[in-house]
């Protein structure tokens, strides 16, 4: 099994292209925030949605903000296609599933985050104003991944040659990617609630989706992500039973997967417990995302454990 170098190089090029396309999408979404109309509450007195070129007729056709939002969304979808191609070409180059090391894993997680956002934004147009706040972390993460986690395309180590790779790692990627969007929605919710409570005048924050919408986005994504994550941990345990000789051994990655599981279980409970609804629950969700990122970065790069082959070489 040798590596097809030209495909591997193509994958690396596509990685840069996807970062570039996402960056343009950030610009478009920012334009949406900058030129967009404020939502109904503050409509009075706000500048009528004249486009940058002043051609738009208020009340006729799409408001310019939603036009910029659409452009941003289209660019995001295009970026996601290129982003998916990064993984496909890498997988073809090495003739295996493209998630055998941390670079590939993290790249795939970010892709899932982007795709979940696109799905949300297509179904709930009001969510599009989140775009800049989703895509900016996406670009930052990808740049960091490219700089610090990059690993040459190569074959899998023996321990990973199992069909559980597809089951366990794919579900971990899916869960993580969805939690990524969920966490961002909760951060925005917290910002928005504070802005609303203090009667803040930030023009950017006031164009975010309403607090209730953000809360619902955070919750629904977490409700989707939680069973997926549960499944990923169970699948990991089943795999560990045949790969490492025990199904659970409090290896650092296992420990933190458990901690993340508890935090998300806590979030789902908090959301339906009087006294915890709203901001406290949102904070729990943010802690959940922090734990997930910590598990990826700290546990792979600083501590050593059985998952270490997944680290950077």
């Amino acid at each position: 099994m040798s590596v097809d170098q030209s495909l591997a190089d193509l994958s690396d090029t596509l990685f840069s292209i996807s970062v570039a396309v996402y960056s343009v999408a950030v610009v478009a979404f920012s334009a949406q925030l900058a030129f967009g109309r404020r939502p109904a509450r503050e409509l009075v007195g706000a500048a009528v949605g004249a486009g940058p070129d002043g051609t738009s007729i208020p009340g006729a056709g799409r408001a310019p903000s939603s036009r910029w939002g659409l452009i941003g969304l289209a660019l995001t979808a295009l970026g996601a296609l290129v982003h998916a191609a990064v993984l496909v070409t890498r997988g073809m180059a090495a003739d295996r599933l493209p998630w055998g090391n941390m670079y590939e894993f993290a790249t795939a997680v970010v892709l899932v985050g982007v795709v979940s956002f696109v799905v949300l934004a297509v179904r709930v147009p009001g969510v599009r104003t989140m775009g800049a706040f989703v895509l900016a972390p996406v670009v930052l993460s990808l740049v960091a991944i490219g700089l610090f986690l990059y690993t040459e395309t190569g074959p899998l180590v023996a321990a990973l040659r199992s069909s559980w790779l597809a089951v366990h790692v794919s579900s971990a990627i899916l869960g993580f990617g969805v939690f990524f969007v969920s966490g961002i929605a909760s951060v925005l919710y917290l910002l928005r609630v504070r802005h609303d409570a203090t009667g803040g005048s930030s023009s950017v924050l006031s164009r975010l989706p309403a607090a209730a919408t953000l809360d619902r986005v955070a919750h629904r994504t977490a409700v989707f992500g939680f069973p997926v994550w549960t499944f990923a941990v169970i699948a990991g345990a089943i795999w560990a039973e045949s790969a490492w000789g025990r199904f659970w051994g409090w290896d650092p990655k296992e420990t933190w997967a458990f901690i993340a599981w508890v935090v998300y279980a806590g979030y789902l409970h908090a959301r339906t417990t009087a006294g915890w609804r709203g901001r406290p629950a949102a904070w729990v969700n943010v802690v959940g995302l922090v734990v997930m990122v910590f598990n990826l970065l700290y546990v792979n790069m600083v501590s050593t454990g059985l998952h270490s082959y997944a680290g950077v070489s």
Binding site: V157, A158, S162, W164, A237, S242, G245, W250
Partner: protein, 547 residues
């Protein structure tokens, strides 16, 4: 028990009896029990369990890496013993971790069992009567229809039944009414989820109590039997007795390590034979991700390495052919390895013992006189050895590693160096007394692990049940729907008041609006043509409209 306080001014000849100590203790216990078994406590305990796990991942743990713990002690000589007293290096078997997990366990049981009983009762009971003020429910609406009251409720009932609601009709104080309910699977899922969590904890605990694990390095051509004396390291639950170990012996016939072009390890496979002691073994092949499983026991390949072979010829002509010992890999990428071969029984005296300590390179090159390995495969095996003669101190009573010599024996002068050499296969080193040591070649060894965990299947089943329960809990909705009819005020017909109460899965408003919309359509479809304005309608409240 009710105690009526006597009126203040009256001199009470007998103050109310204070509850007896027993009753007070019971009251206190009940209060604590209620607090412990509240859902909120279970969540807090779950969080505590997560918090308690954190030190276990940040500090080195004995169960995972003994060496890291030793190193931590060396680096933090004052802090480490303090931490050790707090079980910081054995977090997952510490009393405080166990305390949190036992409390969680009790809390879950106390929380879930009453709910399960209540749920079982609710499954058989009829949906509860409609609340008096339906319009106060989170979702409610009023519809008017020319149909009569009972006919209206017939339509509502039919619409609800096709949507799989359980429906009862009652004639209440405020008019004829209907209660409907669906989504029992949500609560069933909830209970399944929480009960599975309890079952999972039980399985884990059982595995810890009755499980054991032993590991051993076995060189090709050798074998081991499942008994604690044979293992290099083992750990066993407190309820395991040596006689409980299943009788099984394993011989390693052949071991193969395969590599990709870039020297990534591709596969490790071991051909073994296994069977009860004294029995003819059955052959099989095991490898990474592919253990041997028999009757709840498993045998794994967890690592591999090389055992260099030496032939030792004594001056008197006695030959010890192909003696070998596993050398531990110091670097997985090149498999350069270090180890020692101890030969205590060569001569008559205790000071005639021989030992070889050395470095093994599967593909060796000499760089400035220093041997290094450039490839994990045994393409050009070489050893750099130092030979010692004297007393090894094996029977001194002090434990010593089988992979290195006891340095204190060398310092003390009991063991002295008698020669050193770099040898390729076939080459020899001759010692001053005429003994020759020939490096004859290399065998591979496999690190094998024998595991027994009786809780494992139980945990797997619980985990799957947990996931199923979780899906039901998150994806299903529990809905109660109520309807009541009353006579319309003016132009006859009926006012239908409906309301619903939903648990789980937001957006109840849109679904409620949809359902009421469909009810309206259904009612309209059953209604007679609107009466012509001229002909008088049915008398108000007569309920006489034909169906």
């Amino acid at each position: 028990m009710t105690i009526t306080a006597p009126p203040r001014p009256a001199a009470a000849p007998q103050p109310p009896a204070r509850p007896s100590a027993g009753r007070r203790a019971l009251g206190l216990w009940l209060r604590w029990w209620r607090r412990l078994t509240a859902m909120r406590t279970a969540i807090i305990l779950l969080f505590l369990l997560a918090l308690a796990a954190i030190p276990g991942s940040l500090l080195p743990q004995r169960t995972l890496n003994q060496n890291a713990v030793r190193q931590y002690f060396a680096e933090h000589p004052t802090l480490a013993p303090v931490l050790d007293r707090l079980y910081a290096f054995d977090v997952f078997s510490s009393p405080w971790f166990a305390a949190v997990y036992l409390l969680l366990f009790i809390s879950l049981i106390g929380c879930v069992v009453p709910r399960a009983v209540e749920h079982a009762r609710a499954l058989r009971a009829a949906p509860p009567p409609a609340p008096r003020r339906l319009l106060r429910l989170p979702d409610s609406a009023e519809l008017t229809t020319p149909l009569a009251g009972p006919a209206t409720l017939d339509v509502v009932e039919e619409e609800l039944r096709v949507r799989r609601f359980r429906v009862v009709r009652r004639s209440g104080r405020d008019g004829e009414e209907l209660s409907a309910e669906k989504g029992f699977w949500k609560e069933t899922g909830n209970l399944l989820f929480h009960l599975s969590l309890v079952a999972l904890l039980l399985g884990l605990a059982g595995g810890k109590l009755w499980g054991y694990e032993g590991s051993i390095l076995v060189t090709e051509g050798q074998g081991f039997c499942n008994s604690f004396q044979q293992y290099d390291t083992y750990s066993a639950g407190p309820l395991v007795e040596g006689s409980d170990l299943s009788p099984l012996c394993v011989d390693l016939e052949d071991f193969r390590a395969e590599y990709e072009e870039n020297l990534t390890a591709a596969s490790f496979t071991a051909d073994i034979t296994y069977g009860a002691p004294g029995e003819e073994g059955r052959p099989t092949t095991i490898g990474v991700n592919d253990p041997l499983r028999i009757d709840g026991d498993r045998v794994y390949v967890t690592g591999h390495g090389y055992s260099p072979r030496f032939t030792v010829t004594l001056p008197d002509g006695t030959v010890f052919e192909d003696v070998s010992a596993p050398f531990l890999p110091a670097d997985q990428a090149t498999m350069s390895s270090e180890g020692a071969l101890k030969l205590p029984d060569l001569g008559a005296g205790v000071d005639d013992q021989l030992a070889i300590e050395g470095f093994f390179a599967p593909t060796g090159v000499l760089q400035g006189g220093i041997l290094t390995s450039i490839d994990p495969r045994a393409l050009a095996p070489q050893v750099a050895i130092i030979a010692y003669q004297g007393y090894l101190g094996l029977d001194s009573g002090l434990p010593q590693s089988v992979y290195s010599l006891d340095a204190s024996q060398i310092e003390r002068g009991s063991l002295s160096e008698v020669g050193r050499a770099n040898l390729a296969a076939g080459e020899s080193l001759t010692l001053p007394d005429g003994t020759t040591i020939t490096f004859t070649g290399v065998s591979q060894f496999a690190a094998l692990q024998f595991s027994h965990d009786p809780g494992q299947v139980w945990v797997l089943v619980s985990a799957i049940a947990l996931l199923v329960g979780l899906l039901a809990l998150l994806l299903l909705r529990r809905e109660r729907f109520f309807a009541r009819v009353g006579a319309a005020a003016e132009d006859g017909g009926t006012v239908l008041t409906v309301g619903s109460l939903t648990r789980g899965g937001g957006e109840s408003a849109t679904r409620f609006a949809e359902l009421t919309g469909e009810l309206r359509t259904a009612l309209a479809a059953r209604s007679p043509e609107p009466p012509a304005p001229s002909s008088g309608g049915a008398a108000p409240g007569s309920g006489g409209s034909p169906e």
